[in-house]
């Protein structure tokens, strides 16, 4: 129906194809009209920004993280700022999966923009339960699994820091739904490439990265941490170089599409992520500062491609990767790359 439904590689009317399929191995496919996605936790449930920007023009948006039960979130203050970055400790305040499905999917079913649902849980079973609930709902284009959550069965060790734990969640969700599944990787993982390969193997249609980095700020006057939660997730331009490095490494290793994010503030940042190997990008914190930027980014990307003579986004995805690696790259190569970084 939309231009996004055109087969991959078919130039749009303007002769430039911005569309991308983030689940090429899934019969449902996850075809976006353009590669610009609003990131989870930074776009509410889509409605909040409906009056501010033309939400329907986005490639997709990811809703705020939903959990098995309602959560009140953390005490105040929940945000602080650092150099070119923000710290957040919202604490996943949300109505829980049951309250969530009563409210939002029916609204999204009438929207042109694909809605992705970000899910968080503290056990493998709960992730699977939420995926099964979402599978029944209209208006949902796919699921993004937030694995940056404590695994209660493993003493609270973060799922996303461990390849096997991340794979287990992915397998359980995969078994519970036929919807496209994106696994959102945690930058806290010791070996993020290993986690990416494990979730790919476990059935992820795509991977997205990075989630926030754990940080903190201290109020010198009060001699206390600024955030009530003490630590918070760092996002914004401050994390971009780290995010870009991780996207570059993961894209070199996996075959599924990679969705890159972390500090994207405009077209130049987005282009870096595409060149590193991202097939699509997400914008989070920048939306708070300049909501209109995401729309300008779509237009700017199209204009840039026209100027550079790039007909399809696929032509530039991963173009900054070493040429000989652009076809098939194994885990060993990626590990070598990691080693090189660590040595540097």
């Amino acid at each position: 129906m939309t231009e996004g439904r055109a087969p991959r590689g078919t130039p749009a009317a303007a002769g430039i194809d911005l569309s991308v399929d983030l689940a090429p191995n899934n019969p449902h496919e996850l075809r976006l009209s353009n590669p610009v996605i609003a990131a989870s936790g930074c776009f509410g449930y889509g409605q909040e920004y409906a009056g501010v920007i033309d939400v329907q023009r986005l490639g997709a948006f990811v809703s705020k993280g939903v959990t098995p039960l309602p959560r009140r979130g953390n005490a105040m203050p929940r945000i602080a700022e650092g150099p070119a970055g923000m710290l957040n400790a919202i604490g996943l305040q949300n109505p829980g999966i049951r309250g969530f499905v009563k409210k939002y999917p029916r609204v999204w079913a009438n929207w042109r923009v694909p809605a992705l649902v970000n899910i968080s849980a503290e056990s493998v079973e709960d992730y699977a339960m939420m995926a099964a609930v979402l599978d029944e709902e209209p208006g949902i284009a796919g699921i993004e699994i937030n694995v940056s959550c404590p695994n209660v069965a493993q003493g609270g060790y973060c799922f996303g820091w461990d390849a096997e734990m991340s794979a287990e969640v992915t397998r359980a969700v995969r078994a519970a739904t036929t919807l496209p599944v994106i696994v959102k990787l945690s930058p806290g993982a010791v070996d993020i490439v290993g986690v990416a390969l494990a979730v790919e193997e476990a059935g992820a249609d795509a991977v997205s990265l990075i989630n926030t980095l754990v940080g903190m700020a201290i109020d010198v006057k009060r001699r206390r941490p600024v955030l009530a939660n003490v630590t918070g997730g760092l996002s914004g331009p401050a994390i971009k170089p780290v995010a870009l490095r991780m996207v570059y490494q993961v894209a070199a290793a996996v075959r599924v599409p990679v969705v890159g994010m972390g500090g994207i503030m405009g077209l130049d940042d987005a282009l870096e992520f595409f060149l590193a190997g991202a097939s699509a990008i997400q914008v989070g914190t920048a939306i708070f500062a300049q909501p209109g930027m995401v729309i300008r980014l779509i237009d700017g990307l199209e204009a840039w491609m026209a100027k550079e003579g790039v007909a399809s986004l696929a032509e530039i995805v991963g173009a900054a990767q070493p040429q000989e690696k652009s076809q098939v790259v194994g885990a060993e190569d990626a590990d070598l790359a990691l080693g090189a970084v660590a040595a540097g």
Binding site: G41, C42, F43, G44, E48, Y49, G51, V52, I53, K64, R72, G73, M76, P77, R78, I79, A80, E81, P83, A84, G85, M86, N88, I90, Q93, G236, P237, M265, T285, I287, F288, A289, Q290, P291, G292
Partner: protein
């Protein structure tokens, strides 16, 4: 320091007529600073151009989030909220009362006339004057005076009686009387006694609380606590009711991030959309 040519607001065409009458939808727009005047000690009044239709429909209590940095900088990353101090539909301008506090507000306070500001708004709810209220008591602390001046303008236009009470450390921290409509009775207190009552403004409110049909307040949170303590013995059955404006660190300003929540008797609310104005008795401190 007035430059009428400096940056007529752009993208005015995008401003919708307003949904449901008084509440105008938020827009991101660019407007130029047309005037900067000192006020209230180290603070200043900053007037900028804005889409005319938006200005026309502005109501007291609403605020805007201003991007307080240069185009080439990412610091501070997030916008800063400022209440509307005054709006002028004829000139198509709105005015903020800015106190240089940290890096964002200090940046804003240093902008010369002609600077183009990236602004998101109007945001939040409004102070509501009850239909039958005749006598209004407004209690301001510091830059909390901003939305109350806008409210005083509204009330005077409607022919209501307004008492504007304000306290500060010294005379320099008080709003200049000339900035209030002349119909308003202005009651002041200073801790050093340099003007008005020596002490806190809450100490001179008793008669006014008995007189008022509705109280409106804006200031720091400790002020609300002392206000509540001071007026509680004078109130009968929660009357007169008190509307306050709550200040929270904000990111999005539109209800998306949940950074700015307030605990109320109706649950946890995002103060940027459900507030910043709340009934004093509804907020759980």
């Amino acid at each position: 320091m007035i430059d009428p040519e400096a940056g007529r607001a752009e993208r005015a065409d995008q401003v919708p007529a307003g949904d449901g009458g008084s509440v105008v939808r938020a827009r991101e727009f660019v407007g130029g600073i047309v005037a900067v005047e000192p006020a209230m000690g180290d603070s200043l009044l900053l007037t900028m151009s804005a889409p005319e239709q938006m200005v026309r429909q502005l109501r007291a209590g609403r605020f805007f989030e201003v991007l307080c940095r240069d185009d080439a900088s990412y610091d501070p990353l997030l916008r800063r909220p400022f209440s509307v101090f005054r709006s002028d539909p004829t000139a198509s301008t709105l005015t903020f009362l800015v106190r240089p506090y940290g890096r964002g507000s200090a940046w804003l306070a240093e902008r010369p006339v002609g600077t183009r500001l990236d602004v998101l708004g109007p945001l939040g709810n409004t102070y509501e004057i009850p239909p039958r209220a005749r006598n209004l008591l407004l209690v301001a602390g510091g830059v909390g005076a901003a939305p109350l001046v806008m409210l005083a303008d509204e009330a005077v236009r409607r022919g209501l009686s307004v008492t504007f009470a304000m306290g500060a450390a010294g005379a320099a921290g008080l709003l200049e009387p000339s900035l209030l409509p002349s119909e308003v009775e202005y009651v002041v207190a200073t801790e050093d006694g340099s003007k008005g009552h020596r002490g806190y403004v809450t100490e001179v409110l008793a008669d006014y609380v008995r007189w008022a049909d509705q109280i409106f307040a804006c200031g720091p949170e400790p002020m609300y606590r002392s206000l509540r303590a001071a007026i509680q013995p004078l109130r009968v059955g929660g009357k007169p009711p008190v509307q306050i404006s709550i200040e929270r660190a904000m990111a999005c300003g539109v209800g998306a991030c949940l950074a700015c929540v307030v605990e109320t008797r109706h649950g946890t609310q995002a103060s940027c959309v459900d507030g910043p104005v709340y009934d004093l008795d509804e907020v759980i401190w």
